[in-house]
Amino acid sequence: MVENVVETDTVPQGPRPRRAFSRTNIMLYGTLIVVALYYLLPLYVMIVTSLKGMPEIRLGNIFSPPLEVTFEPWVKAWSTACTGINCDGLSRGFWNSVRILVPSVFLSIAIASINGYALARWRFKGSELFFSILIVGAFIPYQTMLYPLVIILREIGLMGSLWGLVLVHTVFGMPILTLLFRNYFTAIPEDLHKAARVDGAGFWGIYFRIMLPMSLPIFVVAMILQVTGIWNDFLFGVIYTKPDTYPMTVQLNNIVNSVQGIKEYNVNMAATLLTAAVPLLLYFVSGKLFVRGIAAGAVKG
């Protein structure tokens, strides 16, 4: 009895008052929902516009859902939209981008991961110096290196070709990827590396047999980083390729911002969505890893 009395005196009885609809919570969720709607708005507008016919766009409201859904703009954007004299749609740019993307991602990750591994575990005289310049290089505006690269590509006969662009992406992807891999490999206990050396494994043996199998997550992160970055690139594409080899972003800009003809907003939006599809899909599928990738790419040093 005595114990009970004490308890009622000091501890509030019953469940804690529910605070789900407190003023703070309403404001918190209210703000979040409004902001979220704002962020979603452009995507929504692009989608509804791409599904409308031109007459409906001219008469109607940019926000209203399509009265009559049509996929014609998508078909046109993909296969017959014109850039200059070429009228085979975005498909050409899409396949160019794929052909640029696959070797660029592979090559840049292969080189950067080996660099990072050498920098983490096999330092030699000068390796840290090169690494420091590499990281400083990440901050140099691309504009100061654009023309020398034009000359280099011309000299080795790759100017205007897909492989030239692959090389450019490999070079400019190197600082951030090397940093990413170096930090990851440095965090793997050094004892493991020592044990493998006692076991008689050398530079390549340790890389392929020990480090690589342990590092799948970081390879996925690097892949996400590169796929998004290379797919979205415009600057290098516009400079180092020619109309035949333009990547998708360049072709998209040419289609939408071409001055000739009447503007077909529905086709334009379909084309824009088509170009956005690859990174968006990757983003929604990879979720947390994507966040890790950009955070890793962002948080330097």
Partner: protein, 369 residues
Amino acid sequence: MTAQDSQVNSVEVHDLDLSFGALEVLKGLNLDIPQGEFLVLLGSSGCGKSTLLNCIAGLLEVSAGKIFIQGKNVTWAEPSERGIGMVFQSYALYPQMTVKGNLSFGLKNQRMPKAEVEKRVARAAEILQIEPLLKRKPGALSGGQRQRVAIGRALVRDVDVFLFDEPLSNLDANLRTDLRVELKRLHQRLGNTMIYVTHDQIEALTLADRIAIMKDGVIQQIDSPKGIYNKPHNRYVAGFIGSPSMNFIHGRLARHSDTWMFEANNLTVPLNKYDFTTTPEPDMPVEFGLRPEHIALGDAATSQPVQSSIVVELVEPMGADTVVWSELAGTEFTIRTDSDTSVSHGDQHPIGFNPSRASIFSADSGMRV
């Protein structure tokens, strides 16, 4: 090294220097380890003990000096060519390989025939009793099991010298004691030379044939555990070994007629039973070191050659025995006594000790007198 040396040392280190830039980590270090010895490198962190081990293993490039293993100059040899096996603190098991894969990785790198690999793995697994674990991956093992596998990886190499880099530090206290005993048993069974790095003095005292105590890249003393404990060469070794650590009383040596005396504030100790290492000088400033466990408290004190008394300031019961904190001759003074003695704060008690068990160090050089 000459041919007439009848007994080849298992490991020899000659005048080893190692520096990283301006930082000298090891300085002119010499070390001979006879065949089959269990040598422990002991010291606090940063003393260079792990660095020395890594040099012997070939994982660090030395700046100067030579290293011989089984009579072969291996100073510039690859780690895998030195005839060593190594066990690491963090186990360093390859996470993506099974236990069997971990054990056989090194042998496969040597392109050893499959049958021989199987035989060696089986033998190591039998010795360490890890046969049921062979198909598992390290992630599915407990800390103790992982460390066994790590030892197994050294074992399969069938080498003469085993190197251990703080192998038990990551384990909890009970497991550490168990594995310590097992390691000692393993050494008795195999008879290999073992070099073992640790900062844990209990591990060192229990395992070692000889202990090398290191500080600032220099070996301070290399001796049997008993020698290190009873006759520390210098003040550092004396203070490092033993817990609670040795009591040190500052004072001077004086000579009265034929007897040397130690004199401090209000304490005079005749040293006729003390075994001097060097010739003492009159009026020499010294530190008089006395281990807490070599001091008798209460009734037992009367039978000791030197007697005094203390006032108890603090009592720390530690189970098997009790540590009494007090003051003697103006310095902090601890006494270790068995837990049956009843002492409490503020009591005055007689104490007694035998100067032959003391250690005296020159206050200037820190060396044993």
